[in-house]
């Protein structure tokens, strides 16, 4: 019989197989830990920090940290949900997210998280950064205004498509996604039905000419918050009450 580890998340008993991450164990137990860069079927990356939990009082990313016997994990606390909300706010102001004109609206994981957290306006100042788009490929568009540097496309291309279509260039605020060719995506072997495109959580890496095909009201997050499909035990805090004043002083 395979050995199982026992630990707790917010006081609830959870079991994990050796080597399994806290996030995978939480999913199996019906507990949702918010996430953006983690995706089932891809290796963990630990970029967005949205899944940060406290493990025996120390912060760890749940998508990369293996579960261990007896650990005490805190997930749905006011402090952690506040940190997550701040991270979402930062992602909105550091890019250019014009949701009203975005093909991904309604199906976008970043927007859906903002809805779930009841964010009415980000608390930070909008940066309006200058970002280039790559429309070189006949079927694929990269709009860096919406890219959150989660590397899901990079990992999906390597691990699922067996390709190497893109990678990151630059550091800090200059870091951006670039096709692995000198002339943009047209110089790569990317194809419109690559898993890499489907993996993008936002409207950054897109298949051309299929936008806005789902009517409003029938999109993925129009009626149900992101993560609710995972939850047997919904989080306490999923409506707006304490965030009406979206912009802090």
């Amino acid at each position: 019989m395979e050995q199982t580890l026992e630990f707790t998340i917010d006081g609830l008993p959870v079991t994990a197989a050796p080597g399994e991450t806290i996030m995978a164990a939480a999913d199996a137990a019906g507990i949702y830990i918010p996430r953006l860069c983690a995706m089932k079927g891809l290796s963990p990356f630990g970029a967005c920090r949205l899944c940060t939990v406290l493990v025996d009082g120390r912060s760890q990313s749940a998508c990369t940290q293996p579960a261990a016997a007896g650990m005490v994990v805190e997930n749905d606390t006011e402090q952690l949900q506040g940190f997550r909300k701040n991270l979402i706010d930062m992602l909105f102001v550091e890019g250019n997210h014009f949701c009203m004109a975005c093909e991904k609206s309604g199906n976008c994981e970043l927007q859906a998280l903002a809805y779930r957290f009841g964010i009415l306006a980000p608390k930070y100042q909008y940066q309006f950064p200058q970002r280039e788009i790559d429309a070189s490929h006949p079927d694929v568009l990269l709009d860096r205004n919406r890219c959150i540097l989660c590397a899901r496309c990079v990992r999906a291309s390597q691990e699922l498509d067996g390709k190497e279509i893109a990678g990151f260039v630059g550091r800090g605020g200059e870091k951006h996604l670039a096709a692995s060719s000198g002339c943009g995506f047209v110089g790569t072997d990317v194809a419109a039905d690559d898993a890499a495109l489907a993996a993008c959580p936002v409207g950054a890496l897109l298949r051309k000419r299929v936008g806005f095909s789902t009517p409003i009201g029938q999109r993925k997050y129009d009626h149900q918050p992101i993560g609710c499909e995972k939850e047997l035990r919904p989080e306490k805090s999923s409506t707006t009450s304490d965030v009406q004043k979206g912009v802090a002083s």
Binding site: F92, N96, H97, F98, C99, M100, A101, C102, S105, G106, Q111, A114, Y115, R116, G118, I119, L120, A121, P122, Q125, Y126, F128, Q130, I216, D222, H223, Q224, P225, S238, T239, T240, S241, Q244, K245, G246, V247
Partner: protein
């Protein structure tokens, strides 16, 4: 008891948020039971007649006049609400934030494919408000108390928030009333 007064304005917006307000349909009869409109395009009052409980701001600030009007709303209203994505983050007008103002003007008045402007002059009449270097969200200009996102915010969102504000209840929006599109 005298009715609460409410003012509304469209700054750098398209009046879509005001249309959404009219989309509350017959509930508008209940609304006029609750409020008296002060300065607003709905009654065409151009200036304030008194202190207002609530001010609704559609659109961000793209020119100096928008800033003056917004400041005057802040002075006259107890609670100021940014309604719609343009007021909250600049919205479509803020697409010009990525182009230097000079280039915007030249494209609009000199180089655009449909422009006929033999004198080659840019507008400089003192009656025309000066453009700001970029489009600013309202809360980066004055203090804003509440935010109702959407392009436009759904009529049900406006209704839920307004009735709560006007009856001194906390504004609690269910999941489906928060939309950014």
């Amino acid at each position: 008891m005298s009715k609460a007064r409410m003012a509304t304005v469209s700054l750098a917006g398209c009046f879509g948020c005001h249309m959404s307000l009219l989309d509350i349909d017959e509930r508008i009869l209940q609304l006029v039971e609750l409020v008296e409109f002060d300065r607003s395009p709905i009654n065409d009052f151009k200036s304030f007649t008194g202190r207002c409980a609530v001010g609704l701001i559609e659109g961000g600030c793209c020119n100096e006049e928008n800033v003056h009007v917004l400041r005057s709303f802040r002075e006259h209203c107890d609670v100021l609400v940014s309604i719609g994505d343009c007021a909250i983050m600049g919205g479509l007008p803020a697409y010009r934030n990525f182009v230097p103002l000079k280039e915007c003007m030249e494209e609009a008045y000199l180089n655009g494919p449909t422009v006929y402007n033999p004198s080659g002059e840019l507008p400089k009449d003192r009656e025309v408000p000066l453009l700001l270097n970029k489009v600013y969200p309202c809360h980066e200009v004055v203090k804003i108390d509440y935010y109702l996102p959407g392009c436009p915010p759904p009529a049900d969102t406006l209704w839920a928030a307004l009735t709560a504000l006007l009856t001194d209840q906390p504004v609690e929006l269910p999941y489906e009333l928060i939309k950014y599109d």
